[in-house]
Every structure is written in C-alpha cells, then in structure tokens.
C-alpha cells in the first residue's frame, strides 16, 4: 500500500511559496519561514492569499503533489493538477457508466448502503457507549428505520428512487445528530444542516471538514486515473467534483462527522473560537482553524484495518483505497463496488 505523506497547510497571509532545488520555500516579506523537501509531501493547501511561483506549480504538477487554494474561510477556490494519470480506457468506461442511469444506479446504491450502514453504526455505538446520556428509545427507532432503508436501497435500480431513499435516511440521521454532542451544548448544537454560509458553529465545522475530505477524495480519484468530475449519483455540473462527492457519501459520517464530534466532545475547540458576520455566516478564527487542521492531520495518521482489503493502513489512505476499489470495479476486476463499511 502507498505510504501516506504529509500535507502542508499555509494559513498565514502575505506568504509566498517558491521552489529552491527540490525544496518548497515559504517566505514572508523576504524572510524565509520554512523550507521542506518536496518528496515528503503529498499535498499543499493554502488559505487566504498566498502567492505561488510558477516553478513550484510545475514541480508539484510533475510530482503529483496536490496544490489547492482556499479562501480564509475554507471555501475551495482552485487546484493545480498535472497531466491526467492512469489510462483512457478506464476513464472512457467511467463515462459510459455515468451516461447509463441503470449502471450508475448499481454503483451508487452500494455507496449509499455504505453511507447508511456507517451512520447507523455511529448511532449504535454512541448509544452503547453513553446509554445514560442518550435517548436510547429514540435512537433505536432511527437505527431500525435506517436498517429498513438499507434493505430497500439494496433492491433499487433507479437513480431518482435512490436519491429519495438517501435523502430520507439523511433526514433520519440528522434528526438525532444533536444527541451525539455531549459537551459544550451551549455553544455547539445541531438543528439541521445549513451551508453556504453555515449559520452555526457545528455547521461551520462540518462544512470545513467536508471541504478537507473532498480535497483528499478528489486527489485520490485522480491518482488512480479516474475523473473526479464525472459522477454516478451526483449529476454533472461544471466545477463540481461529482464522483468525489459520490464516494464521499460513505465517508462523511465515519470520517468527517465523527471528527467534528471528537473536536467538540474532547473540548479541543471552544465556542469563543467562532464569530458571526453581518449576513449570519459563522466563521472560525485563525487559531481554531489551526487546531482543526492539526487534529485533521493527526486523525489521518491513525491506523485502522480496512474492512474489505483487510490491510492495516492510516485513515488518510481510506479515500485512496476506495478510489482504487472503484477503479477495479469499473475495469471489471470486481463484480460490485465494495463500499467502506466501518466496524
């Protein structure tokens, strides 16, 4: 299995990133802040204005290092990618599946099963771990209905029905998500998902975590030679990485939601770290963003056993391994796409 390399996050404003030999050099007003060898990095992610030299862009593209630009609030702006990897035959087959609703549905339903299964597991595990703090009856009702939804999804061969079932399951899961927040309830609560802009602290955190995950997912798909913008469940739309969003469905809960819950429940972040703009948008301050990024990198280093591949790997390689499995299915080496079913 591929080795998980480090990601460099640049959150300081007024920095300039350039190339010196095989090093990335980070400068602030001519002073060199840091210098890192490129072969230790797999991604560079900058927030806010940070200039990058064309030389560095070229070096990143040719070494397959992902270079991403985001706004200070973590909204995605642009990425630099090199030549498409992998082979055309694989990508053309991906397009054929994407154009065929029924074949798309067969792949997409496995992703949805993965999503519902993982979300059900999150709820069950929370009920088991904190039986006295969580409304067990309410939880049981939700998990039972999720189990039912999974049975239905298994039979579906139509994309619209699939989207409907997925939406209904998401509503069920979201209805009890607030129960999983056990600490700092005054500052962190969940009354439903809102985005662009997120209107409360939890939604701000979720949006940020999803952006980080989708970046990892996009580069993983491109690394195995798939086109991140041509999806099966999500419709094509310019600028939307539909396939990344598809595969992310099964990881949102176990990867991003649980990460956000850990930050809150372990009190790594606090309500003071967020502020509200005039339009109601909630934004985290620079220190909080740094804490979140650090915790994200540490989570990526944690080791798990991949339930399907049965191989020990770091969490950060899960998007890559799912991309690999999807490519194998598209190529015809696997009869079905095996979603990530977390145990």
């Amino acid at each position: 299995m591929k080795k998980l390399l480090n990601t460099l996050f640049v959150t300081l404003p007024d920095t300039y990133l350039s190339l010196d030999g095989d090093n990335i050099v980070i400068k602030q007003e001519e002073a060199i802040l840091a210098r890192y060898p490129l072969h230790n990095l797999e991604a560079v992610c900058t927030f806010g204005y940070a200039g990058v030299s064309p030389g560095l862009m070229g070096a990143c593209a040719s070494r397959n290092i992902d270079l991403t630009f985001m706004t200070r609030t973590g909204r995605f702006l642009a990425r630099v990618i090199g030549e498409s990897r992998g082979n055309v035959v694989l990508r053309k087959e991906q397009y054929r599946i994407s154009d065929d609703d029924q074949r798309s549905a067969l792949v997409a339903r496995n992703m949805i099963i993965g999503k519902i299964y993982n979300n059900k597991w999150i709820l069950e595990r929370a009920t088991r771990d904190y039986p006295l703090r969580i409304d067990a009856d309410r939880m049981k009702k939700v998990t039972a209905s999720l189990a039912g939804a999974m049975q239905q999804v298994r039979e579906v061969e139509d994309l619209d029905i699939l989207r409907g079932l997925e939406g209904a399951a998401a509503v069920q899961y979201n209805s009890v998500f607030d129960e999983l927040i056990l600490q700092q309830k005054k500052d962190f609560y969940f009354h439903g998902r809102n985005k662009r802009p997120p209107l409360d602290n939890v939604n701000a955190l979720l949006s940020f975590a999803y952006t980080l995950l989708s970046n990892d997912m996009k580069s993983a798909l491109e690394a195995v030679g798939l086109d991140a913008y041509v999806g099966f469940l999500h419709r094509d739309r310019p600028g939307r990485a539909s396939l990344a969003l598809d595969v992310m469905e099964e990881l949102r809960g176990v990867y991003a939601d649980r990460f956000v819950l850990t930050l809150i429940n372990k009190k790594l972040i606090h309500g003071k770290g967020f502020y509200r703009k005039e339009n109601g948008a909630v934004i985290m301050d620079d220190d909080t963003r740094k804490i979140v990024l650090k915790a994200w990198q540490e989570r990526k280093q944690e080791k798990i056993i991949h339930p399907y591949l049965n191989e020990k790997m770091s969490w950060g390689l899960v998007p890559y391994s799912q991309a690999l499995l999807l490519a194998r299915h598209i190529r015809g080496d696997l009869d079905e796409y095996p979603p990530f079913l977390w145990k």
Partner: protein, 96 residues
C-alpha cells in the same frame, strides 16, 4: 525511515569548495539541515539508495568522507535536541 547524513569535504583547493557546495545542495534537497554539515532526511529505501549513489558520485574519495546513520522508522525516541536552532518534525502536522 530517518537517515542522518554527515560529511567532511576538504576545502583546501577550489575543486574542494565546489564539491562541498554540490554535496550541501544535494543534502538540502532531501532533508533538513540540523547543523552545518549534518542533515536529517526522511526517505524510503529506494530514495535512500539513490541519494547515496548520487552523493558518492559527487565526492572525491581520497579527500572527503560521508557518513550515513540509519535511525529507522521509530527514530523519535532516538533523537534529542539541546540549545539553539530548533528543528521541525517532518512527519507531524505542518501548519504555518
């Protein structure tokens, strides 16, 4: 794994000084300069072999010397730092 590279390149003549600059450049490309002629590099075994070969090509074996210390994957317990020139840890979160 962490490889510690140290070198001694003779600088009595111009050729030597040229070699020194080349060796230093090669090391900077691969790792962190922790002291003047001491580098810590995180490499995999293929990268290590290649770097070793490239450095060997640069030096003059009659005059200069190179030493490689392989500290393995669990190097964190084996390294201790005192005094000035704080170093960074290439494998922990890099956030600026």
């Amino acid at each position: 794994m962490l490889i510690l590279i140290t070198y001694d390149v003779s600088t009595v003549d111009r050729e030597g000084r040229k070699r020194l600059a080349k060796v230093a450049k090669k090391c900077v490309d691969h790792g962190q300069r922790v002291q003047n002629s001491v580098f810590e590099c995180i490499l995999d075994s293929a990268q290590f072999r290649r770097l070793k070969y490239e450095l060997e090509e640069l030096i003059d074996k009659k005059e200069d010397s190179l030493r490689f210390y392989n500290l393995g994957d669990n190097y964190k317990k084996k390294v201790e730092h005192m005094g000035a020139k704080e170093s960074y840890d290439m494998e922990s979160p890099l956030i600026l």
